[in-house]
């Protein structure tokens, strides 16, 4: 069977190089990956980067001779961060392109909508969504969450708030599933430790001002506000809080922060805003490979896209699992190996080639990914390390790791 790269994968030099290597492939049937990412819609900040990371990682795997001799073929689609187009796109990927796995669905609504389809077709789904139901419906372990779910976000937030010595936190949350769950788990963790939340509020996006929302929360005189939202609303809220003279600090997730926030707010307003997020293993080899590929494809730093690193890791862990399961393994058998190649008590590996060699040598491996150590919990959700960052004099600086 001839393996060909689809035109979409030709974007970017890496892919081109990879296709040259891929051309003389022999023997095994290609393993087809659907990259279903939020290229447009609310997730557009990350979608393109995720897609290109997937393509780059697949090229890396193919350059190392494929997974168990199988070339990876990537078919890219735009899920539009919306359930209905995503369902149609997934249908196309599954039925027309006959993909074996769908990688990189971002929002919970998209993952929830396509999960029944992937489960019914025995297709592996790797996502960055946090809805709890995603994990409860995952009886056959075909689905893997690469973004530390709301539970971990909430705990990390609580740990940071405690460590910073705050005693009167308030909550502000964007009205969607992910954001509400994040602050919900924060509240749970905080209250379990005997703390008290002084005010909580869910706001609607797309307002021209959040002044009355802020007024309500500030009236409770919090010393810190746990704000769970996205970049545009976070920008406006932080600016207005500053203008209103709020003294409370803010703690926000990293997907609503980054250089774009700094650029929008400037050094004065951003000063002291706390950011929590999973730490990619920046010093690690996997991150360096990912970062270089990301830079090449998008001309910006891979550090700006937490989901890019996760998408990259999806491909590598999937490929390692295929490698371990063998060329003739079906998806259920492959999925079973995901945990085996990623979780502790194996030799630490940081790239596909390294892992492949170790597996060939008959060793147990533990893939340490670009996005984190990639240790999956009992639900199939990757547990990452969190760190606290802050803006200081116009610089984004890492403060310390969170436990």
């Amino acid at each position: 069977m001839t393996v060909h790269f689809r035109s979409t994968t030709l974007l970017g030099g890496i892919a081109l190089a990879a296709s040259l290597i891929a051309a003389p492939a022999i023997g095994q049937e290609a393993y087809r990956i659907g990259a279903l990412n939020p290229v447009t819609g609310a997730g557009n900040t990350y979608g393109s980067g995720m897609q290109k990371s997937i393509i780059a990682a697949a090229a890396e795997v193919n350059a190392a001779g494929g997974a168990a001799g199988r070339k990876l073929e990537v078919l890219a689609e735009d899920g539009q961060t919306s359930a209905e187009p995503a369902v149609l796109a997934a249908k196309k990927l599954i039925e027309v392109n006959k993909v074996n796995a769908i990688l990189g669905t971002w929002s919970s609504s998209v993952s929830l909508a396509i999960q029944p389809m992937t489960l019914a077709s025995n297709i592996i789904l790797m996502h960055t969504s946090s809805a709890p139901t995603l994990f409860t419906q995952n009886q056959r372990n075909l689905d893997w969450g690469f973004q530390s779910g709301s539970k971990y976000n909430g705990r990390a937030m609580a740990a940071a708030v405690k460590k910073e010595g705050f005693t009167k936190p308030a909550i502000m949350s964007f009205n969607n599933d992910a954001a509400i769950n994040n602050v919900g788990f924060f509240r749970k963790a905080w209250e379990a430790a005997g703390g008290k939340i002084v005010a909580a509020l869910t706001y609607e996006p797309k307002r021209t001002s959040y002044r009355s929302e802020l007024q309500k929360v500030l009236a409770a005189k919090p010393d810190v506000i746990a704000l769970s939202g996205y970049l545009p609303d976070t920008t406006i809220i932080l600016r207005e809080a500053y203008e209103l003279g709020a003294t409370a600090k803010f703690i926000i997730p990293d997907w609503a922060a980054g250089p774009a926030l700094l650029k929008a707010l400037g050094p004065d307003v951003s000063q002291g805003v706390l950011v929590y997020g999973t730490v990619p293993n920046i010093a690690g080899a996997a991150f360096k490979t990912y970062s270089a590929a990301y830079k090449k494809a998008l001309n910006t730093s891979g550090e700006e896209n937490v989901f890019g690193a996760q998408a990259y890791d999806m491909v590598i862990s999937l490929a390692l699992a295929i490698e371990k399961a063998g060329a003739s393994a079906d998806n259920v058998a492959i999925a079973k190996e995901i945990r085996a190649v990623s979780n502790p008590d194996g030799e630490k590996v940081t790239s596909f080639a390294e892992g492949k060699a170790a597996l060939k040598a008959g060793k147990k491996i533990n893939y340490e990914g670009a996005s984190g150590p990639l240790d999956f919990d009992e639900d199939g959700n990757a547990v990452a390390d969190f760190a606290l960052f802050t803006y200081d004099k116009g610089q984004y600086v890492k403060r310390y790791l969170l436990q």
Partner: protein, 294 residues
């Protein structure tokens, strides 16, 4: 390929039902309803909630249709008092109110979290066959809707609808109440939208408030305008064309590699936008013209 086409066909059927409903309201009666998605949402949520509570799917679908039918009544009362252009905005507002309710009333709708795991009919069949059976069901519903529309338009009721569209005051002068007629067509159109919503919920399997943005209403309008208002076939041709534009771009991108995914999304919207303008300018009657209006 076939299962994908089946999915597309199902979506065409769902949008077709939605558009047929709008056709009855606008194409036949001239009501400018820009809140169609409200009834779609009511149908979807009602059916989903009832079947998630363990009742039969058929009961859910029937309830969704009936509730959408009834929900149109108060809106219908408003229609009678308002100018056409006001009505457009009021109905649009109505659909946003409904969406806000879906977001806020978490005890019922689970809010922004949405409703996952909505049961699919024919789950005992294999996935491919279940989809085929579903398509047959949607097609049957479509056929029934078409027959119903045909019966309506070729009846004294249809005659009266056309009379109302020509001259409301003259209708009143012969002792008929145009208001009652408008309410009825609004309710019937809403019922079709509700049924479409029910089909949608059970097919997609997951619904949340942000699937019921005004964009859905606009899609129905686009299908209606492109297909041709006032004709039964127009609604189906229009919704097929709509899906063709929305889905075709996926395949187009395989052929045009230099356009990025982001740009493709923009182009999709551009094609729809430009298409609407050009249709209005050069072919306002749509692809399938309504012969009685020429």
């Amino acid at each position: 390929m076939l299962p994908y086409l089946v999915t597309i066909a199902i979506m065409i059927g769902i949008y077709g039902l939605l558009t047929l409903g709008l056709n009855l309201q606008y194409g036949y009666t001239g009501l400018i309803n820009f809140g169609h998605v409200a009834f779609f949402a009511i149908g979807a949520y009602t059916s989903a909630l009832i079947s998630l509570a363990g009742y039969p799917i058929a009961l859910g679908m029937a309830a969704g249709t009936v509730l959408a039918f009834l929900a149109a009544y108060p809106l219908g009362l408003l229609c009678l008092r308002l100018r056409a252009d006001y009505l457009a905005i009021v109905t649009l507002s109505f659909s946003e109110i409904i969406r806000t309710v879906l977001i806020s009333e978490e005890w019922l709708t689970e809010g922004t979290q949405g409703l996952p795991g909505i049961p699919k009919p024919f789950s005992s069949l294999s996935q491919g066959n279940a989809d085929l059976a579903y398509l047959a069901l949607v097609a049957t519903a479509m056929l029934v809707a078409i027959l119903l529309m045909w019966r309506l338009s070729h009846s004294p009721f249809g005659r009266l609808i056309r009379a109302v569209r020509d001259d409301e005051d003259a209708v009143r002068a012969v002792g008929k109440d145009p208001a009652q007629l408008k309410i009825k067509t609004l309710m019937l159109g809403a019922a079709l939208a509700g049924l479409a919503g029910a089909f949608y919920a059970h097919y997609v399997g997951y619904i949340s408030p942000d699937q019921f943005l005004p964009l859905v209403t606009f899609y129905a309008w686009i299908a209606l305008i492109m297909g041709g208002a006032g004709t039964i076939t127009g609604a189906i041709v229009g919704s097929s064309l709509l899906l063709f534009i929305l889905e075709g771009s996926r395949f187009l991108r395989d052929v045009v590699p230099f356009v990025s995914e982001v740009q493709m999304a923009s182009l999709r919207l551009a094609v729809i936008g430009l298409g609407l303008v050009l249709f209005m300018l050069y072919r306002p009657q749509g692809l399938i013209p309504d012969r009685s209006q020429s």
